[in-house]
């Protein structure tokens, strides 16, 4: 079984695409992979809070009315609202800027959303299974997964031990779906708790596994920053998702 991987630095993070299948060396596959990366670059141009010219940056400066933004931006705004409602407010797209003022920042949702969108391009590749890792959030699937062996065998996703990043604490096998981890091990306190108005300092991490990477990511963030009682809500509404707290 052939396996091949590609890595690009997009949205300020390393993004890798691994493919398994008989035709991973074909030009059609190479084209599909580049198109998947292009979808991520497009998302970066629209949603980056670092690029001054991005639509999100313009919304943050009050220069662009969200109602007149690109349809993809409007789609993400809607999803952010849904995520906030679903998680009882633990997920928020209003984050404090450098000046302490709350501003629109959909980054926490965009990463999973964009990775999943790029992965859909990979799912079109024939007789191939894919594993896309966007800075630690993983989405897997593909047309070969029916086979269950060879190129269709589940991907083994190691969950990093947040207290010792040189170790793998758990392994999740997954043929299709997403694995998202929220924690402070890599970037320090950057996850914002709207209820207390502070960035969360606690150690550990929360990993959520489920059908959609985007929703797994939303829940991982919400469960990491939110109150303990949120896990009750999670078990009630997040059908098909499971959580690994480390």
């Amino acid at each position: 079984m052939k396996r091949r991987a590609w890595v690009r630095q997009i949205m300020g993070m390393p993004i890798s695409i691994h493919l398994r299948g008989g035709n991973v060396d074909s030009p059609a596959v190479a084209r599909g992979v580049e198109e998947a990366f292009d979808l991520l670059r497009q998302a970066d141009r629209l949603f980056s809070t670092y690029l001054r010219a991005s639509e999100v940056s313009r919304i943050r400066r009050g220069e662009l009315d969200p109602g007149r933004a690109d349809s993809l931006v409007q789609q993400v705004i809607t999803l952010c609202h849904q995520a906030g409602e679903l998680t009882d407010g633990a997920f928020t797209d209003q984050l404090p800027d450098a000046d302490g003022v709350l501003r629109f920042d959909p980054t926490g949702l965009v990463k999973g959303w964009a990775a999943e969108r790029a992965a859909r391009r990979l799912a079109d590749l024939s007789e191939t299974s894919y594993c896309l890792n966007a800075g630690g959030d993983v989405v897997v699937g593909g047309s070969a997964i029916e086979a269950d062996v060879g190129p269709g065998a589940p991907w083994r996703v190691g969950i990093e031990d947040p207290r010792d990043r040189s170790r793998i604490a758990e392994v999740v096998e997954l043929g299709q779906g997403g694995v998202a981890t929220s924690g402070t091990a890599a970037r320090g306190a950057h996850l914002y708790d709207r209820a207390t108005g502070t960035f969360v300092q606690r150690a550990g991490s929360v990993t959520v596994v489920g059908p959609s990477l985007m929703w797994a990511d939303v829940w991982a963030t919400a469960l990491f920053v939110g109150p303990d009682s949120l896990s009750v809500l999670f078990s009630q509404v997040a059908d098909g998702y499971r959580v690994i707290s480390l």
Binding site: A5, V7, G12, N133, A186
Partner: protein
């Protein structure tokens, strides 16, 4: 050689989550050229991998591979890995920034962690790693280019 390559690849995939081991001959990597740098003294040169799955003839051989220098925002970083008995026995940065406090942070933190990771995850048979968000870092690219060289 094949077994060595697989051992390296599973290890590195486990460790740095993003590795690209192109089987093609023209691999470009995030736009950085991958140059064939000379291996360290005493190294055996990497042989082309084949489909053979026979016994590893170079089980006890010692080889090292030096990746191309990767430009990071803090300066160039270059990594060398040592392969012994089909496993990565060591990794070290042969070139890294050391100008300011930020650099010291990289050197004091990232490099030791990578060394541990490479060695600690030898036997992990995993395809990728989920963890707290990883940001772009030329160091990983450079290690990748070392792995690419091992795979050629």
């Amino acid at each position: 050689m094949r077994r060595i390559v697989l051992a390296i690849l599973s290890t590195i995939t486990a460790v740095v989550l993003l590795l690209s081991y192109h089987t093609s001959t023209s691999s470009t990597f995030a736009g950085s050229p991958i140059s064939q740098l000379p291996a360290a003294p005493g190294a055996t040169s990497p042989a082309p991998s084949s489909k053979k799955s026979g016994p590893a003839t170079s089980k006890s051989s010692l080889a090292s591979y030096t990746g191309a220098a990767a430009d990071t925002r803090w300066g160039p970083v270059q990594v060398k890995i040592t392969v012994q008995g089909g496993k990565i026995s060591a990794s070290e940065a042969v070139q890294y920034p050391q100008n300011n406090g930020r650099d010291a942070q990289i050197n004091g933190f990232a490099l030791p962690i990578l060394n541990q990771e490479v060695v600690a995850q030898q036997s992990a048979s995993i395809d990728t790693v989920s963890g707290a968000t990883v940001t772009s870092d030329g160091y990983l690219q450079s290690l990748q280019s070392a792995v690419d060289q091992a795979h050629l």
